[in-house]
Amino acid sequence: MHPLSLYFHFVKLRIRSQMEYRLSFIVELFAQASISVIDFFMIALLFNRFKQLAGWSLWEVGFLYGMIGICFAVAEMIGRGFDAFERNIVRGDFDTILIRPLGTFYQVFANEFLLRRLGRIAQALVVLLIANSQLSVQWSLTKVGYLLISLMSGTCFFIGLFVIAATSCFWTVQSIEVINIFTHGGVFMGSYPFSIYRWWFRHFFTFIIPLACVNYFPALFLLGKIESLGVSPIGVQLAPFAGFLFLGIAMLFWRWGVLHYQSTGH
């Protein structure tokens, strides 16, 4: 298990260097959490006035919100290397990665670890737990496993987006900022049930950018709302695998992109 133990060694080093500035770390953790608390509070305000959204209660939406929030924050924490890949290219650090006897994807992945996303993860987890306590979900071992797979799949989905943006740096140097639509925008739209969106919007975010597959469909299944949808339950149950597939495609794109790397200077 050499790659795995090496990965944890990298993470350990990263965490240690981030803890050097302890005060600013704690303040930022707090800032992160406060932003996201307000975020959810706003949704609560709307429910306070309007009571329900397309047949979803506040805590059902909270369940969606918690899931997508965890996925995104974890992706940001562990996938930071791709999220911040632009400066690797700008500074020429990618040369260093290429002279090491390890895969490029592995190295970029292992190189960074953003511990301060813990604040956001904690907030999203709390919302998810409260939502669960307010709802009467019949938990079984299968359902817990399914939830965990969905969360992993969602995380993979967001990392896949980071990878695609990072790969684009091989051509454009600057990361394509439009990816924000799918990352931050994805979290925003994923916090609400997909049924409120127009059909073309829904289809785009199901089949091309499989956001619905890692969040909305799994939540439908877990909250027992499939019947209301008229979609085959098998399709819904298999949906989370789209996240893994998405990351796989992103990785292929990465491998192809690396071949087009033009190091700085001649």
Binding site: V27, I38, F50
Partner: protein, 295 residues
């Protein structure tokens, strides 16, 4: 240390001195204005290099707007009770929100903190330019860039896709324009205040992050204050941040009329002055700290 200290102190004292000593005040004011106008123009041009980023930002703005509109339409569909804002009002409100997102005190200021952190603030103090005014003007230049390069396109494109209401009375438009300018001024003053904390903390990310969440919340950027529960709206009315978003847009939507407009604009002005004054106190404290520590 001492020579640098004296220099800085001389500059600080000199600035105050110059201001009172001027005989031909009108002429000096005019000249000063010219200098700062040049700074504002420079700041405007500085933003030009981020054109591609701006284009991407425009797309992102529009996407968020789209989702917001979907969400509110769904909420309004389910509700039978009368609401203080119609769905058309809401759409217009969020179009304006996304259009003026870059004018908020959430984006700029990093440069101010850097100036303070890397010590070039001492150099700036030796110049015959007021530190706060300089950055105020710089922030305004940035804001006007985004007003025209981000705000206007967002607004125009939105008109194609959504039903955006446009006020018919010229007086409303005039009041809105005044209120918007005040919002930009307040945003600049707040930004300087936030980042002048760099004198005390090495890293302003945390403080600016917390400030950002308070501003986002209480400005009404996420949910119009009219839709908030009474008790919370009450708190917001007593805070300055509604002046950034909710006040100008409520004027635009015609939700404030007659004397209410004047009160709202008066409040904006008062808060503006407050932040300028507060920022000045903070900066002066910071400068004296600088003098004591010798940079």
């Amino acid at each position: 240390m001492s020579s640098q200290t004296t220099k800085v102190r001389a500059a600080v004292v000199g600035l105050g001195w110059r201001r009172f000593k001027c005989r031909d005040r009108m002429k000096s004011l005019y000249l000063t204005f010219h200098v700062y106008l040049a700074f504002a123009r420079k700041s405007f041009q500085k933003q030009m290099q981020y054109r591609v980023a701006n284009l991407a930002g425009l797309t992102t703005n529009f996407f968020f707007l789209l989702v917001q509109v979907f969400v509110y339409i769904a909420f309004y569909k389910a509700s039978t009770e009368p609401q203080p804002l119609s769905i058309d009002d809401i759409i217009t409100y969020f179009v304006l929100c996304q259009a003026s997102l870059m004018l908020m005190p959430l984006w700029g200021g990093r440069e101010i903190a850097d100036t303070i952190k890397n010590g070039s603030v001492a150099l700036q103090l030796t110049k015959p330019v007021d530190f706060q005014t300089y950055w105020f003007v710089d922030e305004c230049g940035r804001a006007y860039y985004y007003l025209f390069m981000r705000g206007l396109p967002t607004f125009l494109i939105s008109n194609i896709f959504f039903k955006v209401t446009i006020p018919q009375q010229p007086s409303v438009l005039l009041a809105f324009a005044v209120s918007m300018v005040l919002a930009i001024f307040m945003s600049a003053a707040i930004t300087i205040t936030i980042f002048s904390t760099a004198f005390w903390t090495l890293d302003t990310t945390g403080i600016s992050g917390i400030a950002a969440s308070v501003i986002t919340f209480f400005s009404g950027m996420l949910v119009p204050i009219a839709l908030w529960p009474e008790w919370l709206a009450h708190i917001a009315r007593w805070l300055p941040f509604e002046g950034l978003i909710d006040v100008p847009f409520s004027i635009y939507l015609g939700k404030l009329t007659g004397i209410e407009i004047w009160i709202a604009i008066g409040k904006q002005m008062a808060w503006c002055l407050f932040f300028i004054g507060f920022g000045r106190v903070l900066l002066n404290r910071g400068f004296s700290r600088l003098v004591i520590q010798g940079g």
